[in-house]
């Protein structure tokens, strides 16, 4: 069993994008190192370099002081490095047991897979998380039907099934509930005692301070700080993660104007049910900035997407007291709805197309036949300057933009249509701090103009500082509604974990 792994001055490019310019990490047996950083800081790339999935461009990896290179993920596995990923690396078509033991299936004397041994050892692994499953999880369950938290547990079991000495947990707790997180941390403590090393990649402060011994902070691809957890507090850690004085100052300083919220109910839902929503009801008023909170994957996405006509639902939805039921985003658009989706690369943008084409995509119809491209350019330029979009030109591909500016294009294509209801799914994810501030100002302005805004954020500070009200979604229902005095970070986090049992948001 190895004793230490170090990464020194790692540089990694993806095409033209620099993911890491100076990444460093030191991990030793018997300890948990928290790898901390904002979105886009290079955390994921760092863990991929260490476990051999990605080739480093420059820099060195040292195992017990000796330089080592990984030609493939298998090479890293061979020296006992294992990773639990964010994007699940399970094969949906195979069973739990097949996924866990892939490439390491116990064989019988004929070289065939030993089914009995596979089942027995899978049961052993499943027992580690016993009592935390919602479904009847057994080795032959098909993975595709499992909820996200159980898929994540399968990932974890897969990672530890070959008794590695270094375990990288890359945002592994994102889809787990509190019981499962507790059990995982119990296991982590045991692993530590047994001489394993753990890298805990996360941005959840509470968990970091609970489980980590050391920390290492990445910011914009560079390691800017490392040390013992007991020598630092949360505020200092956050300061290391972000460049400017945090936007938190901006948020807290804003005087919330209550007068802007009108009494008219603009958007209303009753018993809205989808595959992940179990009956959601709420009333939102014109000009209100309403947030949706809660851990990711509790149904928030479905809430937004069903209102937009992208996901089928049952129940009643009313817009200004007129019943609506959109079957396709087109219908939603025609009624003044807009959706900024959660994954801009996969859902919000056409990456190889020009900025112009992206901005105009929903709106070409308005420009005649044949399309009056000059008018389109004029309108696009105007929207661009309203959003302070930094680009080389409208004809440049959207891939040339930074994360924040790309997100502006996603919002811009909707602003060009002057929507009355704006739905946003984690709009500031992967956006730099300066652009975040611009977004907050924009959202405030839009709600001042009387638009109805409903957005999900995984950032509690944002919700507390920006919203008039927050619906906390847990397990497919609105558990709690926080507003005014009850809208605090503590209440938000508590409600997100489903700890406090409040009444459902009353209509």
């Amino acid at each position: 069993m190895a004793e230490s792994l170090s990464a020194r001055n790692i540089v990694k490019h993806y095409g033209g994008v620099v993911a890491l310019s100076d990444g460093n990490l030191d991990v030793h047996a018997h300890e948990v190192v928290a790898l901390v950083g904002a979105n886009g800081s290079g955390k994921s790339t760092m863990s991929k370099v260490i476990n051999g999935v990605v080739v480093l461009d420059q820099g060195q990896l040292l195992l017990d002081g000796n330089p080592i290179q990984f030609a493939s993920p298998q090479a890293a596995k061979n020296v006992g490095i294992s990773t639990v990923f964010q994007e699940l690396s399970v094969v949906p078509q195979m069973t739990v047991a097949e996924n866990i033991w892939l490439t390491r299936e116990p064989l019988n004397q004929f070289g065939m897979v030993d089914r009995k041994a596979v089942n027995a050892r899978t049961e052993e692994l499943l027992a580690l998380f016993e009592g935390t499953f919602k479904t009847d999880l057994n080795p032959d369950s098909s993975v595709t039907s499992l909820p996200p938290d159980e898929k994540q547990i399968i990932e974890i079991l897969k990672a530890i099934s070959f008794d590695p000495w270094l375990i990288i947990l890359d945002e592994a707790t994102a889809s787990l509930d509190s019981r499962q997180v507790q059990r995982l941390f119990e296991l982590v403590t045991k692993w530590k005692e047994n001489g394993k090393a753990i890298v805990f990649v996360s941005h959840r402060m509470e968990e970091i301070f609970r489980i980590a011994d050391k920390f290492s902070v990445l910011r914009n691809g560079r390691t800017v700080g490392a040390g013992n957890i007991k020598d630092i507090n949360e505020k200092q850690l956050i300061k290391l993660m972000i460049e400017k004085e945090s936007v938190l100052g901006f948020l807290r300083g804003e005087a919330k104007s209550d007068a802007k919220v009108e009494k008219e109910v603009s958007l209303q839902a009753e018993n809205l049910t989808t595959e992940s929503l179990r009956g959601v009801s709420f009333k939102i008023h014109k000009g209100e900035l309403v947030g949706i909170g809660g851990l990711r994957g509790q149904g928030q996405r479905h809430l937004l997407h069903s209102l937009f006509g992208d996901v089928p639902f049952s129940g009643t939805v009313k817009l200004f007291n007129k019943e609506i039921h959109f079957k396709h985003p087109r219908e939603a658009m025609k009624n003044g709805f807009a959706l900024v989706p959660g994954d801009r690369a996969k859902e919000g943008l056409l990456y190889i197309r020009s900025i112009l084409d992206n901005l105009l995509l929903p709106s070409w119809r308005r420009y005649g036949l044949p399309l009056n491209v000059n008018n389109a350019k004029k309108d696009a330029t105007q929207t661009g300057s309203t959003l302070n979009l930094k680009m080389a030109g409208l004809e440049e591909p959207v891939s040339s933009l930074s994360g924040g500016n790309a997100q502006k294009v996603v919002i811009g294509k909707w602003l060009m249509r002057d929507p009355q209801v704006l739905l946003l799914d984690d709009p500031t994810k992967g956006v730099d701090v300066g652009t975040k501030a611009e977004f907050y100002a924009l959202l405030n302005r839009l709600s001042d103009e009387g638009k109805t805004i409903l957005f999900y954020s995984s950032d509690d500070e944002e919700l507390v500082g920006l919203c008039d009200r927050v619906f906390v979604v847990y397990d497919g229902m609105i558990r709690t509604e926080l507003a005014g005095e009850t809208l605090t970070k503590e209440n938000l986090i508590a409600a997100s974990l489903g700890v406090a049992q409040h009444e459902r948001a009353t209509p």
Binding site: V53, P73, M94, L102, T103, E105
Partner: protein, 322 residues
């Protein structure tokens, strides 16, 4: 209750549906042709079906791995023209066996070429094997521009008349390949295959040798296409540069009927084998149904399209019900 059990069953055993279809079509065929199971007729049928069955086995494995092989027809044509020209009607049985060995090498090579472009250069399977299908078909025509040549009558007779233990030779051949598949699929390689076809990125991150696995599926497909070419040459006894062309679509249809997912990762080999037999039986039924010759091509082609569309139609029904 009943419906969800049915769904669960077909999800677990995709070949179940293929089995039902096979039995159904066999029954209909039996009605139209009562002597269907007589030794002569059975042997005659299986002889005709065998080339497609062999091709379907290879196609099934490629599709399981997440790819597809459009060039199989071309490989069959090459093998056929090589045998017909190199061995010829006057050739000796020894020469025949020698060139059978050469044919297998050709299949392996053709498959390796496909595998190289797809697995190592990471080109799209459909367009790559479409391109190589033209390459291979052209080569076959180059070797034998006009139908002609042949194989020794003794070999053709061997293929035609062999019925060990009163069962068609084809049964034994199929049984051998199924046994080989049974063993292979229980090895780690089998798990690799399903993983790569199911979700290649996940397989890669789990350190499955994705490239090797993908490469191997095309080599296997090429090899099975070569076996298929040998079988069809023994069946027809002569050479024809275009003989493999129509077989490609049939092999894909057989795999679809057999319950394998076109996207990969789901299914097996037994299902496609049954699918190939079913397809053959259906074509028998049409021949017996006394349809006007002019309509025959249209009817057969329509059945193929319906078979290809069947999984989609079924899943629409499933969704409507739930």
């Amino acid at each position: 209750m009943k419906r969800s059990r049915w769904d669960a069953l077909t999800a677990r055993q995709p070949a179940l549906f293929a089995l039902i279809l096979l039995v159904l079509s066999a029954v209909i065929n039996f009605i139209v042709q009562p002597n269907m199971f007589a030794r002569e007729t059975l042997n005659s049928n299986m002889r005709v079906f065998l080339p497609i069955i062999l091709m379907a086995i290879g196609q099934a494995i490629v599709i399981l791995g997440g790819g597809i092989d459009i060039s199989v027809g071309g490989i069959v044509s090459i093998v056929n023209t090589v045998l017909a020209t190199r061995v010829g009607l006057e050739g000796s049985p020894d020469e025949m066996w020698k060139y059978i060995f050469v044919s297998l090498l050709i299949g392996l090579l053709a498959g390796a070429i496909n595998g190289f472009f797809i697995a190592y250069l990471r080109l799209q399977p459909i367009i790559t094997t479409y391109a190589t299908s033209f390459l291979y078909a052209g080569l076959a025509l180059f070797i034998l521009p006009n139908p002609g040549g042949g194989i020794p009558a003794s070999i053709a007779a061997l293929y035609r008349d062999s019925t060990p233990l009163n069962l068609p030779l084809a049964f034994y051949v199929i049984a051998v390949f199924l046994l080989i598949w049974l063993y292979t699929s229980s090895m780690r390689y089998g798990r690799f295959l399903f993983a790569v076809g199911g979700k290649a990125e996940a397989a890669y991150e789990t350190a499955v040798p994705v490239t090797m696995v993908q490469f191997s599926t095309y080599v296997i497909s090429g090899l099975m296409a070569a076996f298929s070419g040998i079988a069809i040459t023994m069946l027809s006894g002569s050479g024809n540069g275009e003989i493999g062309g129509p077989m490609t679509l049939n092999s894909i249809t057989a795999v679809v009927i057999g319950g394998n997912a076109m996207s990969g990762g789901v299914g097996g080999v037994a299902g496609p084998v049954m699918g190939a037999i079913t397809l053959g039986i259906i074509q028998n039924i049409i021949s017996f149904a006394n349809i006007d010759t002019w309509w025959e091509t249209l009817v057969k082609a329509t059945i193929i399209v319906v078979a290809l569309a069947a999984p989609g139609i079924i899943s629409i029904f499933r969704r409507r019900r739930s």
